[in-house]
Symmetry: C2
């Protein structure tokens, strides 16, 4: 028995590739994004009263993980555990999971009609641009908020661990773009094993490529927790 | 473009009909339930590490709402507004919604293999028994808990408003069953308009039928906020 669902819209975010997407969005509360609603779900009546809520749940599909999850794999390696230990997929928020359903808590910004489209603007987005949206629900604190819940290996929010500087000869960027690059890189998107001193000693000049919107950003990481943006290309 | 999903299991709860199911589960934290996992998702490895979490998200399908949502209806009448005002479906948790996706926060109890089945025991269930489960994810407080979020017309948890008594000539029941009936009825499952004094004055002897497991429970409501269980049949 299977269930057939129809996406209600599509999410637009700065993240045009997986590398650099913060985990659980909580790390980046002001990353802007919007959802374009597909007819008939673009009817503004469907959103009547939504501006009374500060936060929304976005139920979506990890569409880029689908090909890789043809067969069921019960164990995954959470990045939070350094990529060494395996945990059950249902004890994780891994994108490689049955049905590829993702859940993100975002801030409501506004809803508007723009050139014949309904756009729901949100912030705190941690999804790949192009993500199919399956549902939108209001966040209800009395039901959804359990600040004292216990959460295994993911007790605390990932902290910014890199300070970010920019090479002086880069093309000029908007304040927003500089802030976005700084935020994303400061959370250290590198794989856990690249963060080990042994790895860094062997690859001191490694350039990491990050894609945000249509910008290709190259950065290096110096031993003392310093990231430096070397190239910005479109 | 549509998305095909396969339920990973089926939820078992005391609620064999919609009438009486508390809204947002928060009202009934100790209602017991379990999920039986469908192969291949019954592999215990898929749950490795889950006992480190106190709470879980259950993503499910409102399977009994499917027939009624063949065509898209953007407005619903939230019970919280007395059934009078209409709100947008995406500004509500109504079960009559595109894709019929539901989201419930429950407590983790234990996971076990019982006669060849994997059962994930949970509590705080607010789903109809037989609900198809699409995903299970750990609750992560740093990402999911926003106690100060603003939530429109659903600011506070529904409170128990009826005190419950039992007619003396009822068949003997277990303590658990008496506690369950008391909890469910005390939250007043009647439609909002039945709670108005005018309605009650016209229908003083109305018997409400509630079904829990395979028990048929009949109760009346007296004017002063008193519910009395009159019949219990199997």
């Amino acid at each position: 028995m299977s269930v057939e669902l129809t996406p209600i819209g599509s999410l637009h975010s700065p993240f045009s590739q997986k590398f650099g997407i913060p985990r659980q969005s909580a790390g980046l509360t002001d990353i802007p994004g919007y959802i374009t609603l597909t007819p008939p779900y673009d009817d503004l009546n469907g959103f009547r009263g939504i501006d009374a809520f500060s936060h929304l749940w976005i139920v979506f599909q990890f569409h880029q993980s689908i090909e890789q999850t043809q067969s069921y794999s019960p164990l995954i390696r959470p990045p939070r555990l350094g990529g060494n230990d395996k945990m059950g997929v249902f004890a994780s928020r891994s994108s490689f999971r049955p049905n590829n359903i993702g859940l993100s808590l975002v801030k409501f910004v506004k809803i508007e009609r723009v050139s014949g489209q309904t756009r729901l603007h949100i912030s705190g987005v941690d999804c790949l641009s192009g993500t199919p949206v399956l549902d939108i629900k209001p966040y209800v604190p009395y039901a959804d908020s359990h600040p004292n819940a216990v959460s295994g290996y993911a007790k605390e929010q990932p902290q910014a661990t890199l300070s970010v500087t920019f090479s002086p000869d880069l093309p000029a960027q908007t304040e927003e773009m500089l802030a976005l690059m700084t935020q994303v890189i400061s959370l250290d998107p590198r794989p856990a094993y690249h963060q080990r001193p042994e790895y860094q000693a062997l690859h001191p000049d490694k350039i990491y490529q990050l894609r945000l919107y249509d910008f290709e950003i190259g950065f290096i990481v110096e031993g003392n927790g310093q990231a430096k943006v070397m190239t910005i290309n479109r």
